[in-house]
């Protein structure tokens, strides 16, 4: 095995990378977004309060507990009736009402630039749809791209007003680089400490590191959801004969003679990979959905909403 030089590789992408000519999001896309938002709003109604309850004590009107007064406490919280009855100072504690944030971690590594329809294009549409729903129905929504590290994204957007900025940003989002989700999760932990809903949109190649990253996010009490992007090419690659295979992320090469028998083994291995990711997710109550690029994004998002896991 060897690493190809930049100039040596006359890479024959299979299929060819998507042309970046036209806009990814058009008026029809926006209409679909609004439809999805209506569906999400109906499902969210009645659950919102529960979704916002926090274990923290705060300044809401809902009483939670008493504790002894300490110097520095706000005198307005002293329970004067208790003082009259018991002769000791107690302060009243109220339940903290927290904001509900949606974080969409979008994989922009080289392996996502694959398939027809393109995985990255489909992933961006899905990310846009989820963020829009989050902006409309939650307190904030953020989309953060990553490969081997986190890149600046669009964060803490509230209301529908920021949707055009989000779409423009997604449309211009570059792609490339290697994936290291463990490192990415580490960085995300350093930036976001308050638990929220984290949706990871990726192909999850390098499953070991991906699992390590998901473990870290789980540790931070985030409500996790993974969306695995899969293209038909990956399920059934049209490869046959004497080939020089090139890794789309690392540029590594491997000479291989691909036969029918070998293709069958590949398909078994690929399906096993997806199954293992699903099994892991279900084992830790992580929402799991597989997004085929040949399925319309709105159909996929609707299916995710109907399952209810994302907004539950």
């Amino acid at each position: 095995m060897r690493r190809a030089s930049d100039t040596a590789i006359q890479s024959e992408r299979s299929p060819a990378p998507r042309a970046r000519g036209g806009s990814l999001f058009d008026a029809q896309f926006l209409q679909k977004l609004e439809t999805l938002n209506l569906i999400a709003r109906q499902m969210v109604r009645g659950r919102r309060a529960a979704m916002r309850q926090s274990i923290k004590k705060g300044s809401s009107i809902e009483f939670k507990d008493f504790r002894e007064y300490s110097p520095g406490d706000d005198p307005r919280t002293v329970d004067w009736l208790a003082y009259a009855r018991l002769g000791e100072l107690y302060v009243k504690l109220f339940r903290q009402e927290e904001e509900l944030d949606l974080w969409v971690l979008l994989d922009r590594s080289g392996s996502m630039d694959f398939g027809e329809p393109n995985k990255f294009d489909q992933a961006r549409r899905i990310a846009a749809a989820l963020a829009y729903i989050g902006m409309s129905n939650m307190d904030s929504a953020s989309v953060i791209p990553f490969d081997s590290q986190l890149h600046p994204g669009v964060e803490k957007m509230r209301g529908k007003g920021g949707v055009l900025r989000l779409l423009k940003w997604l449309d211009e989002l570059p792609i490339g680089g290697e994936t290291d989700f463990e490192k990415t999760a580490q960085m995300f932990m350093g930036r976001v400490r308050r638990p929220g809903i984290v949706v990871v949109v990726s192909d999850f190649y390098g499953l070991q590191k991906a699992r390590a990253g998901l473990d870290r996010l789980r540790f931070m009490k985030h409500q996790m959801h993974v969306v695995q992007m899969v293209s038909p090419w990956e399920r059934n690659p049209p490869l046959r004969g004497e080939l020089k295979l090139v890794d789309s992320e690392t540029g590594m090469q491997q000479n291989l003679t691909i036969t029918d028998s070998m293709l069958k083994k590949y398909k078994v291995a690929f399906e096993g990979f997806a199954a293992e990711l699903k099994k892991y997710s279900m084992g830790y109550s992580i929402g799991f959905d597989q997004a085929d690029t040949d399925v319309e994004f709105d159909a996929f998002v609707r299916r995710v909403l109907q399952h209810g896991r994302l907004l539950a």
């Binding site: 095995m1 590789i9 006359q10 890479s11 024959e12 992408r13 299979s14 392996s111 694959f114 192909d203 190649y205 390098g206 990956e234 690659p237 490869l239 004969g241 004497e242 080939l243 020089k244 295979l245 090139v246 890794d247 789309s248 992320e249 690392t250 590594m252 491997q254 000479n255 291989l256 003679t257 691909i258 036969t259 029918d260 028998s261 070998m262 083994k265 590949y266 291995a269 690929f270 990979f273």
Partner: protein
């Protein structure tokens, strides 16, 4: 091993290409995949036999080299000659004569010997090295080179396929002679005659020339055919005699009916009995006063049908015009004798002249000829002044009888009988020198003395004759002086009787009228024909005489296969040519107002003798043809090995997953 197509060795470059490809390794297509992890994991599963991994590519290369090698050898069409086959110059003589149309084989697979010949040529040309030089000669009506010297065996086979059957007798001998001239100076020459033997002719040719090798074709002997059909007019009887010769090529005695037709009307059916492998003949009298076309046929389904019919022409028998030149007193006896010769003598057109009238008749005839109305023949008629002073047509005499008188100038052309007078041109005669001689007949028979005897006849007196030139003495005196003799010259015939008939015993005998009858019959010259009586098939018909200048074309009527075809042949420089004589039949030619007839037949009884001749040696071995291997040429086996190699290589391909 010898390659019949060594050009295939040029494809060895392909083997070099295979090696180069494997040395340079296979040019792989580059394909980008999302991640290599899956493929690396799969490739890792196969890396269990490192030695095999190293060998499998070499094995593949060796397999492909073997496949390419087998295919190259198969293309080269190898033969196992063990070095015996050397380049030769082979002149192929193909017999396409009538006998080669004999049908061989069973009911299901019937083919002519000519078709077998073409197959044989294919086989031979494919079984010899391409370094051989070939020449193909067709032995038809004339030897014909149908393919000049070439190394291209495809052209040889094409030329062989293009040869058409010829219904007549082939010119094998001339063809072999031509081939002998053409192979002279060539390396290791060979004259290969593909033939049924032509009744032993090929064997005779091979015995004379060591370069001649026969490739025998045909085995059947089932043929009975008409080998010869000839007709002669029997003028005295006014009918014809037909000679039928039937050839039996089978090994059994046959008795075959021969049907005879004249102008399509059945004449008779004659049974002819023929011994095995021989010919039987039969003479048949044909009564056809006006002549016609005689067709003889045998209704027998045998291998060769061409010789089951033959044609002959019955030329119309015309009576002779006789001029009798004599004095009035002696005329009666001769007139009575001539008058009894119907139909031999044309009484209406014959004349009795005195010596004085003879000159006037000759002058009148000459006038007619010069006027051109009578043409060159004797059949024309015109008004002339007869000896009696009346104007009527006179005909040129076929025979002139001079009794006791010889004209001062004897015509240079004609038939004459001199009685009691001898022209000085032929002999010196002393009048009355022999007294009371006795006649002695010549021991050798002659047509003129047929059925008569004059032996011992007494004469009052006779001329003593001394011959000046060659003459046939039919009777002589006891002293040896010719009494009756015949002088024959190219343009003239003269029968001389050197005594006065009326002063002898002859008027009291039938012999003299018979002698006259024989003379008229023998000396009557038919009108000259434009054609021969018969032509062999394939022979070009040309006129025997120069066609008059005024005739621009002649009419030909060909009667064959029960149909009549009319053809006009242009006359060029006094001649014409008719070459469509490939089938048997009868031919009628009209030049001006003259008609001539001819028959077209195979013309050679040997064509009916289709039985195979003895073969001294195996031509395969003599010609050095390759031995067959496993029922076919080795290239088939090599091709099979190559196919198996491809399958095996394909199977091993699935084991070559990675390097």
């Amino acid at each position: 091993m010898t390659l019949l197509a060594p050009w295939a060795l040029w494809f060895i470059a392909v083997a070099g290409g295979v090696v180069a490809l494997y040395l340079l390794k296979i040019k792989r297509r580059t394909a980008t995949v999302p991640v290599l992890d899956f493929w690396l994991a799969l490739a890792g599963q196969t890396k269990v036999h490192s030695l095999f991994n190293r060998l499998k590519r070499l094995l593949s290369m060796l397999l492909w080299l073997m496949i390419v090698g087998c295919l190259i050898l198969a293309l080269g069409n190898p033969i196992l000659s063990l070095g015996k086959i050397k380049p030769r110059a082979i002149a192929v003589v193909i017999d396409n004569s009538a006998s080669m149309q004999a049908v061989e084989g069973t009911e299901e697979e019937r083919e002519t010997r000519l078709a077998q010949t073409k197959r044989a040529l294919n086989e031979i040309s494919k079984s010899r090295p391409v370094t051989d030089e070939w020449l193909v000669i067709e032995a038809g009506s004339e030897p014909r080179v149908v393919q000049a010297w070439t190394f291209d065996t495809k052209l040889v086979r094409k030329a062989g396929e293009a040869i058409k059957p010829f219904n007549g007798a082939g010119k094998l001998s001339a063809s072999v002679e031509l081939a002998g001239q053409l192979v002279a100076g060539k390396p290791d020459p060979c004259i290969l005659v593909i033939s049924d033997g032509a009744a032993g002719e090929v064997e005779r040719l091979a015995a004379k020339d060591a370069r001649v090798l026969q490739w025998p074709v045909g085995t059947t002997t089932d043929n009975v055919g008409i080998g010869h059909l000839a007709v002669r007019a029997h003028r005295q009887n006014g009918n014809y005699l037909a000679l039928i010769s039937v050839v039996n090529a089978t090994d059994e005695k046959v008795e075959v009916p021969v049907a005879l037709e004249v102008d399509g009307k059945s004449q008779s059916v004659e049974m002819v009995s023929v011994e095995p492998r021989s010919a039987g003949e039969k003479t048949v009298v044909i009564d056809a006063p006006n002549g016609g076309v005689l067709r003889a046929s045998i209704d027998r389904k045998d291998a060769l049908t061409l010789d089951n019919e033959a044609f002959a022409v019955l030329q119309p028998i015309t009576p002779a015009v006789v001029w009798l030149v004599t004095d009035r007193e002696s005329a009666f006896f001769f007139e009575q004798a001539l008058g009894s010769m119907d139909p031999l003598v044309w009484a209406e057109e014959s004349l009795t002249l005195t010596p004085g009238q003879y000159g006037a008749a000759v002058a009148a005839l000459a006038k007619q000829v010069s006027a051109g109305s009578a043409g060159a023949g004797a059949t024309g008629g015109a008004l002339g002044e007869g000896p009696d002073g009346a104007s009527h047509a006179i005909k040129k005499p076929d025979l002139v009888i001079f009794n006791g008188w010889v004209p001062p100038e004897l015509p240079r052309v004609g038939r004459f009988v001199f009685v009691n007078a001898v022209p000085e041109e032929f002999a010196i005669a002393e009048a009355g020198a022999l007294v009371m001689p006795q006649m002695h007949m010549a021991p050798r028979a002659h047509a003129l003395t047929q059925h008569i005897t004059l032996q011992g006849a007494g004469l009052a007196k006779a001329h003593k004759v001394t011959l000046k030139g060659p003459a046939r003495v039919l009777a002589q005196s006891g002293e040896g002086s010719p009494l009756i003799f015949l002088v024959e010259q190219p343009e003239r015939q003269a029968l001389c009787v050197a005594f006065d008939v009326l002063e002898s015993e002859l008027p009291f005998r039938n012999a003299f009228p018979l002698l006259l009858r024989n003379a008229v019959s023998y000396m009557h010259e038919e009108a000259p024909s434009w054609l021969r009586a018969g032509y062999a098939l394939g022979e070009t018909v040309k006129p025997l005489r120069v066609v008059p200048a005024g005739v621009k074309e002649v009419d030909l009527a060909v009667q064959r296969d029960g149909k009549r075809e009319d053809v006009k042949a242009p006359v060029v420089s006094g001649s014409f040519a008719f070459a469509d004589t490939g089938r048997a039949g009868a031919l009628r030619l009209v030049v001006g107002d003259e008609a001539s007839f001819a028959a077209m037949n195979i013309g050679n009884a040997d064509e009916s003798r289709i039985g195979p001749v003895a073969r001294a040696e195996d031509p395969h071995e003599t010609l050095g043809l390759s031995k067959r291997w496993l029922g076919g040429m080795p290239w088939t086996l090599l091709a099979c090995v190559a196919a198996i190699g491809v399958v095996f290589e394909w199977l091993t391909y699935h084991l070559r997953w990675t390097e």
